[in-house]
Amino acid sequence: MALLRDEDREYLKKEFEKKIRNPVKVLFFEKEGCENCDLVKQILTEVSELHPEIHLSIHDVESDEAKTHGIELTPAVVIEGEKDYGIRFYGVPAGYEFNSLIEGIMDVGAGEVELSEETRKKLGELDKPVVIKVFVTTGCPYCPGAVRLAHMFAFVNDRIKGEMIEANSFPELANRYGVYAVPKVIINEEHSFEGSLPESEFLKEVIKAVGG
């Protein structure tokens, strides 16, 4: 049975048609016995059928592809275009996070993201590697805002990685990072904050985290 509603499928087809100008590679990483892998695979399959330039490929977590992308957990999704921007989804991109998946695909397909000049400039000046982890649950309406910013930041600066981590799929990880409310954002393992922040505030946290 199809997961997506017909009306949503139609809407997405039109939006993808409007926005996608470049090929979008959706890489899915799985392993045997992984609890939610089949679900995520089906979501990605249905989405990739909505536009000819969305190319889904499926890899094992032990594959070379996984190594070059630094993927160690499953289910994992990478969205890339002409290069790997550092956009990652761990766990199930459903519920409110489905929107993050869709917007990630559209950004890469459009080859641009909607960030202010100021933000781009400041992100461009960052010369250290940054990993932004955003812990979410699929029932959290405030979470996609944080995921989206992390992914857009990753898009504009190659040193930045933006990772959505759907906490229900990785309870141990959530525990290790002391996640008890979402969204929880962890930058470079050390710096963290809770709640969704507007673009300029989120940026300040990133700059603070790298000691800018």
Binding site: L3, G139, C140, P141
Partner: protein, 315 residues
């Protein structure tokens, strides 16, 4: 399983009506305005559906005999509005200019003009304002059950507030947690009887009525709630791993920047949902009123939409 999509549309810079907030009140007003054949743009900073969308189940809104998930109700209301040509701006309103014939609404991304403005921004969970609350926000203190329930599997939690929202969300949390200590300021449970009965069927719940929360205690994380019995003054610490707070709401009116008269932060209207400024209307939880529910928000929205149509038609 749900798959939420934030739907975009082309936007103009000028509309007949600008509606701030896409909760049940704002969406209903927009539906009425659109049916009057006026152009309308609805601003929303989180998701269409509003506070109702973070409610796991709404059981007292007529038409859904089995209850309806808040998210589903929001999605249906949004769809109905879109079908009528209502447009959406998924942006947060940060400032307004309400005087004069042309009103302006500013978001982080731009500025829009309208002949009429509807304020339907609802309310947010109020903090208790006790020591430890801010310190432990995200470390055991939570305000959203649908967001954070999974982190409390088999844990002991407290729910502060035994109104309808506290009890309804408590029922949801009971699917995850080991036990709930309900804490209520009043000597009785304010929630609807039917909810009380359902919560009380569970063996792992306990009620602390007539108790005031003094402090949320812990070291790195929440370890308990210190409460005081209001009549005897007796204090105790209820040991829990987490605290969910559903004790009161505060209106989302900060963006008005003092440009409108407020009472306890709420917008004051007449029975036509008109505010003191001509062409500016308000409906739903943001309004000074007695009952804050989806059904009353929708009722407000209908009156408000009709008043806006009347205003735009120059009657």
């Amino acid at each position: 399983m749900e798959f939420f999509i934030k739907k975009e549309n082309e936007k103009k810079r000028e509309y007949d009506a600008l509606v701030i907030g896409a909760g049940p009140a704002g969406l209903t007003a927009a539906i009425y305005i659109a049916r009057g054949r006026f152009s309308v743009l609805v601003f929303e900073k989180v998701i269409p559906g509003g506070l109702a969308a973070t409610t796991h189940l709404i059981e007292n809104y007529p038409g859904f005999p089995e209850g309806v998930e808040g998210e589903e109700l929001g999605r249906l209301m949004e769809k109905q509005a879109r079908n009528l040509g209502v447009e959406f701006a998924m942006e947060e309103v940060v400032d307004v200019e309400l005087e004069g014939e042309k009103k302006r609404v500013k978001t982080r991304d731009g500025e829009y003009e309208g002949k009429a403005v509807v304020i339907a921004t609802g309310s947010s969970h109020k903090k208790l304002g006790v020591p430890g609350e801010d310190k432990f926000t995200g470390k055991g203190v939570s305000y959203c059950a649908t967001c954070d329930a999974p982190f409390y599997k088999d844990k002991k939690i407290a729910v502060v507030g035994c109104g309808n929202s506290g009890m309804q969300e408590g029922l949801y949390l009971l699917r995850f947690v080991r036990s709930i200590d309900f804490i209520e300021y009043f000597p009785y449970i304010p929630a609807d009887r039917i909810l009380q009965e359902r919560v009380k069927k569970h063996e792992n719940v306990k009620f602390h009525l007539n108790h005031q929360v003094l402090e949320i205690v812990g070291d790195e994380r929440v370890e308990g709630v210190r409460v005081k019995k209001r009549d005897t003054g007796e204090e105790k610490v209820i040991e829990v791993d987490g605290v969910f707070i559903f004790a009161g709401l505060s209106p989302n009116t900060a963006f008005l920047n003092g440009k409108m008269e407020l009472e306890d932060g709420y917008v004051v209207t007449d029975e036509f949902m008109r505010t003191s400024i001509p062409g500016v209307f308000a409906c739903g939880d943001v309004r000074k009123k007695v009952l804050r529910q989806v059904a009353t928000a929708v009722g407000d929205g209908a009156v408000c939409g009709a008043s806006v149509v009347e205003y735009l038609e120059g009657r």
